[in-house]
Amino acid sequence: MLSTIRSQGALHWLGRQLFNRDDPGAFFDPLLAVLNPMWVRGFVPARLLDVIDETADTRTFRLRPSARWQGFRAGQHVNVIVDVDGVRQHRTFTISSAPSQWRTDGTLTLTVKRHPGGHVTHWMHDHLRPGTILGISQAFGEFDLPPSGQPKPLLYIMGGSGVTPALSHLVSLAERDYRAPVTLLYYVRTQADVIGAETLYALAARWPALSLHVFATEEQGEAALLNEQHLDAVPGFAARDAYLCGPPGLMDRANALLARYGVQEEQIRCTFFSAPTAVAADTPLGGAVTFARSDIHVDSDGDAPLLEIAEAAELNPAYGCRMGICHQCSCRKTEGTVVNRLTGKASGPGEETIQLCISVPQGPVTVDL
């Protein structure tokens, strides 16, 4: 997925013969990474230009990716690839800058909040310094701006670090000189937690179509949680296209309210990425298992390992020893926590390789099978 080597016919075929791999370009990466990390082929390298403090726990990283990066649309995300303590980690972040910035100076920004208990975001805050090279994927995601043409009134409901796609959107809309009214309801804990404050207030000052409302839930109490009054204050909101992004609580509330007011589902777009969270240590073994590729969902209980659960669901994953030696059964777990039967240790919550024959689900687990 991350390999950017496209098959270029004969040359690619030859590369496969010579280097025994499907991404022959990456064969030289270990050397290139030392000579000039911006030449690496296995992922798109990006140089970190500067780090800007947004709030006490949020920083914006400005990156310049290599020429192989293909650009993005406002509202899209990238996977960031970093090696933390020898382990390659992938995390998804929404691009907080506008595509116009990338077109003019070749840079983009990612705004990253320290996620409580989030190993990788903490590491990024603590270790990434200007000049560092990290990897990114091509951009993806469908949280798109309305098509140009007849401008429609828009409503953004955003919470916390979920505001990042709106930053990209709003800057782009202002550049288009978007005429229809645009309202942003932005929910934060305190005024000091407003991300992209400079951009937002500057936009509100010079772009008459935008009305900006910041609600500080910790400072203003109950009344600052999304409610009917907030929506009622937005003229003609039921006819607007709505964009939602924020923590699950806010998203649920917003969806329920909008539905109650008869806003159609087609009018609503949601997006949110949060770092996966670990299950509590005392979570009992077993849980709902999703075999993503075959689209099978089953429940498991007790200490049945995933290999047996998969076989009971009539899947035929590869296996050998069934005792954790041979790794024939290794496959990708995309979400959830598993406990290793041999060591009794729980895995991390994110995407990683596990051995099916000795991995017991602890809570819901998704496996790429």
Binding site: V87, I325, H327
Partner: protein, 360 residues
């Protein structure tokens, strides 16, 4: 000849070894990643160096340097990178190019075939006669569990052939030609395997014997000869290392019946007593992919191999605690016992026993 331990001793043994494994696992990180990346860089450098030097091989010392560079590159790739990566030693790094199930190495045997015959069959059924087909590679008789036949007299020739053409032998291992000969299976059962074998074997031959020679056309005989030599160097070295790991004098063998309902402790015991180490300097260890620590490797096949050297004293101490032989010795000494073993078992049992009695 099997070492006996009581069930509770076996449980203690498993606990002691598990403790070592858990401690290393918990400590894996930056240092191990840096190590394997450095080895990979070394491999790439040597491979490029070898390919570049080879066309200038009409100057004899350059020829030697080219062969050495490419041969060592292949050795490092097969032993310290390929073999170990495919064991899942670096799966925790989450790097797609170091993933056990997708890695493809620079030798005739396909990664998939190796994962089946080696990672699973050999490592699960280590030295179980009839189940571990690595035991003598189905062409050598190395214990009296197998009945002597007259053609065994010539098994030294088999051994020489096997070691010279080792990559092809390993590549064809999954064919189970001995079972085809015995008509237990049909050649047509192996169609899928043969297709992959020819694809991979063809790819390897194309690269070393067609593409690079053709690329350097005027000097192609030199490049061809150099590549043949580099492959030979790798074949000889890797087969020798592997033979020293399991076929030394005292390495034990086991019967199928003895491993029924085997406990983890018994499995550990079998790994400890069925393998043998050899000593040497840092580079001997690296070039053997740390299979010089075959014992540690068999007990912990998926721990990054460069750690074996560090935990060896602790594994040896565990062996001492349970009165188990920790089979080790210099490379020369271990290899000598392998040759002796091949020679001994080529003889009819009566002759062999008499000879052994005289030697004592």
């Amino acid at each position: 000849m099997t070492t006996q331990l009581t069930q509770s001793q076996l449980d203690d043994l498993a606990r002691d070894l598990d403790a070592i494994r858990d401690e290393v696992r918990a400590d894996l990180g930056e240092r191990d990643a840096r190590y394997i990346r450095r080895i990979i860089r070394l491999h790439r450098t040597l491979e490029i160096g070898g390919r570049v030097l080879m066309p200038f091989g009409f100057i004899p010392p350059v020829f030697v340097a080219g062969v050495a560079s490419l041969g060592v590159a292949k050795i490092i790739e097969n032993m310290e990178i390929g073999h170990n990566v495919m064991h899942g030693q670096y799966d925790w790094m989450n790097d797609p190019s170091l993933h056990s199930q997708t890695y493809e190495w620079d030798t005739v045997c396909t990664g998939d075939s190796w994962r089946q015959t080696h990672n699973y069959e050999h490592h699960t059924y280590t030295n179980v006669i009839g189940k571990d087909r690595d035991y003598g590679y189905a062409v050598l008789r190395l214990s009296d569990d197998e009945k002597w036949k007259p053609w065994h007299l010539l098994q030294f020739i088999n051994y020489l052939m096997l070691t010279v053409f080792f990559q092809w032998g390993v590549g064809l291992h999954e064919l189970e030609s001995e079972r085809i000969r015995r008509r237990e299976i049909k050649l047509s059962d192996k169609k899928a395997f043969l297709r992959d074998f020819f694809r991979k074997g063809g790819r390897q031959a194309f690269k070393d014997y067609v593409f690079f020679p053709a690329l350097t056309f005027p000097v192609f005989p030199i490049v061809l000869a150099g590549n043949v030599c580099a492959n030979l160097v790798r074949n000889l070295w890797s087969s020798t290392v592997i033979f020293c790991g399991h076929f030394t004098e005292d390495a034990e063998t086991f019967s199928e019946a003895s491993i029924e309902n085997e406990s983890r402790g018994q499995w550990y015991l079998r790994q400890l007593t069925g393998s043998s180490n050899f000593t040497g300097g840092k580079w001997v260890h690296i070039l053997s992919g740390h299979l010089s620590h075959q014992i540690e490797h068999h007990v912990f096949p998926d721990i990054p191999a460069h750690r074996y050297r560090e935990i060896a004293p602790r594994v040896e101490a565990v062996c001492r605690k349970y009165g188990l032989k920790y089979n080790t010795g210099s490379f020369g000494k271990q290899y000598w016992t392998v040759l002796k073993r091949i020679a001994h078992y080529s003889l009819p049992d009566r002759v062999r026993v008499k000879l052994e009695a005289q030697a004592v």
